[in-house]
Symmetry: C2
Subunit: 341 residues, 2 copies
DNA sequence: CTGAAAGCGCTAACAA
DNA sequence: TTGTTAGCGCTTTCAG
């Protein structure tokens, strides 16, 4: 992209006034040329556009946003990017938005900055919408979301009783599906590895899982908290093997923990996967498919989830918040070698 | 964060004028109160601040940016986020910037959007600086970078002969270090797995590696291109084992490929790690430390690299570009079980 | 359909 | 130290 040869110092940007002068029209004409379905003559528009491209002009989104309150930016609030699922989400959002000419502003809490402080900041930037993911909204935050001047969507999260839109995979159905799968395959002593306490994802997955086991006459599974981390999975595996009744299947609330479980089992030794114990995860991150792990998991349809999120964000034409809706996208069990169904 | 009870509809934001009225001062006083070391009486400032917190006011960065040309945003251009090294980079940037009150605008090329188109867009948003990473700048792009009105830094990338600042790890020294390590440990037939053709990182790592081998009287290593992906590593392992002279060490230009190599070796079978063949990577991503892999690798000091990048971006007080400088941060070999030094 | 003028929320000269 | 004024680059009434 060669810088426009407009004779200006590289410090200055070409402005609408420059284009107007070059095209022999008023500044408003330039504005209209760049405003979809504004009342402007075809001929005028093309003259403006011609001058614009010649000068390398494009409207300043900041100045525009100051008036229209539409800056072309979507805020993404995420507190941790270490779980590989979230980079994948981030990328999907980035690509989807990019093709619509919108950009992502990433808000990550700093050292000891609370997540709640981020929302007002984001709103201050005039973002057109806010997506909150990989973060547990506090009560304060929930209230702030409800009174935000733009649509807010919780991604992969839900808050009971709050009037906030949410998009996620059907975690409970996923947990249930996994339970059914294990039960039908004759597993008798499944165990569960939970994520962070209070995370809605882990909670619903566990709920569905437990319900499925109960329905089949199995007891509530032993559980261990793995904090959604690989190390947590490692520890969980070791502790679960210490039980009097060793489990013959382990369902971890996300893939990264499940991989930790697999590695933990290997390290402890004695139990083979899948001969002695099965392992199932949730997410279907890239590493789950690596031969060393070949993890059976429940795939979250990231693309569809992102698409639904954007649909909600864009469903308001005047930029105002929309009535909250919750969308649960169905996922799908991917069987690999960590189970032998 | 409870919404401010200022009697305004939730659609309107509190403005400097509101605060001024509440504090009984002029709008400029409000502005000055929020401008570091502006000439304002302590007393006035505290009065303003009090009113501001009461109303939940904070300056609109967009309006401010329109004048100061400092929007508080840094643009991050990255074309792929699948290599886990980059999410780590992203997070480090996000946290570091967050604590300085700055935000990241993420620019990822959409479907078939060229990377070059992103720079002007970013500049249009009035970003204070641009970081380009995980993307190979074209000649056009280089020119655009050189004439950008704000500092531009290439992260983990260098472009020969271009007047652009760059921050990276000393890839050549790293490659050399790995060669020395292998040679000193008696490895005789090392091989190399390259990343994408034309990527400066892969190039320099290979250069140092080859130089080290040559210095020790070993021939130029057989090489295979792995495209910086896990699958590429898998294939590379298989192809390298097909050689008449099977390698007794494999250095992959990044960790994700090295992990693929490890898995490929496992899948093919016959060769044990590290007894028969050593594997070394580059980056030190989280998965490298997982027990299943326990990959020896060259750690890139992300934190320092990010710090240096920000130092360059901020070294200009008036926001203008700074004379280009290249910073090479030293890395460090992390020995794990994929080698037996 | 078009241009002139007002103003989004803020900062930066300038006087006072 | 303060308030007043102008104006960043743009959109949007409002006349014409």
């Amino acid at each position: 992209m060669t810088p426009p040869k407009n004779g200006k110092s590289k410090m200055e940007r070409t402005t609408a006034a420059d284009v107007a002068r070059a095209a022999g029209v008023s500044i408003s004409a330039v504005s209209r040329a760049f405003t979809p379905n504004a009342s402007i003559a075809k001929q005028t528009k093309s003259r403006v556009m011609q001058a614009a491209t010649a000068l390398g002009y494009q409207p300043n989104p900041l100045a525009r946003g100051l008036i229209t309150r539409r800056s072309g930016m979507i805020a993404l609030l995420m507190s941790e990017v270490t779980n590989p699922f979230y980079p994948a989400v981030l990328e999907t959002f980035a690509r989807a938005l990019s093709s619509r000419g919108k950009r992502i502003m990433l808000f990550t809490p700093g050292e000891d900055e609370p997540l709640e402080a981020l929302l007002p900041q984001a709103l201050g930037y005039g973002v057109e919408g806010v997506v909150i993911t990989s973060a547990r909204p506090t009560a304060e935050m929930t209230a702030a979301c409800e009174s935000a001047p733009v649509p807010v969507v919780l991604f992969n999260r839900t808050v009971e009783g709050a009037a906030i839109s949410a998009v996620g995979c059907d975690n409970e159905a996923g947990g249930r599906k996994i339970a059914d799968f294990l039960v039908e395959s004759g597993r008798k002593r499944p165990a569960f590895v939970a994520g962070l306490a209070g995370a809605s994802t882990s909670l619903y997955r566990e709920r569905g899982f437990t319900a499925g086991l109960t329905a089949a006459g199995l007891p509530t599974p032993p559980r261990h908290v793995g904090d959604f981390t690989f190390e947590g999975g490692l520890r969980a595996a070791e502790e679960l093997l210490d039980l009097k009744e060793q489990p013959d299947a382990i369902f971890a609330a996300n893939d990264i923990m499940a991989l930790g479980v697999l590695d933990g089992l290997r390290r402890v030794g004695g139990l083979r996967v899948p001969e002695d114990v099965w392992v199932v995860g949730f997410d279907d991150i890239a590493a789950a498919a690596w031969p060393s792990f070949s993890l059976t998991t429940f795939r979250q349809p990231i693309k569809r989830m992102v698409a639904e999120t954007l649909r909600i964000l864009e469903s308001s034409d005047d930029g105002a918040p929309v009535p909250p809706s919750t969308v649960l996208v169905p996922g799908r069990l991917i069987e690999r070698n960590s189970t032998a169904g």
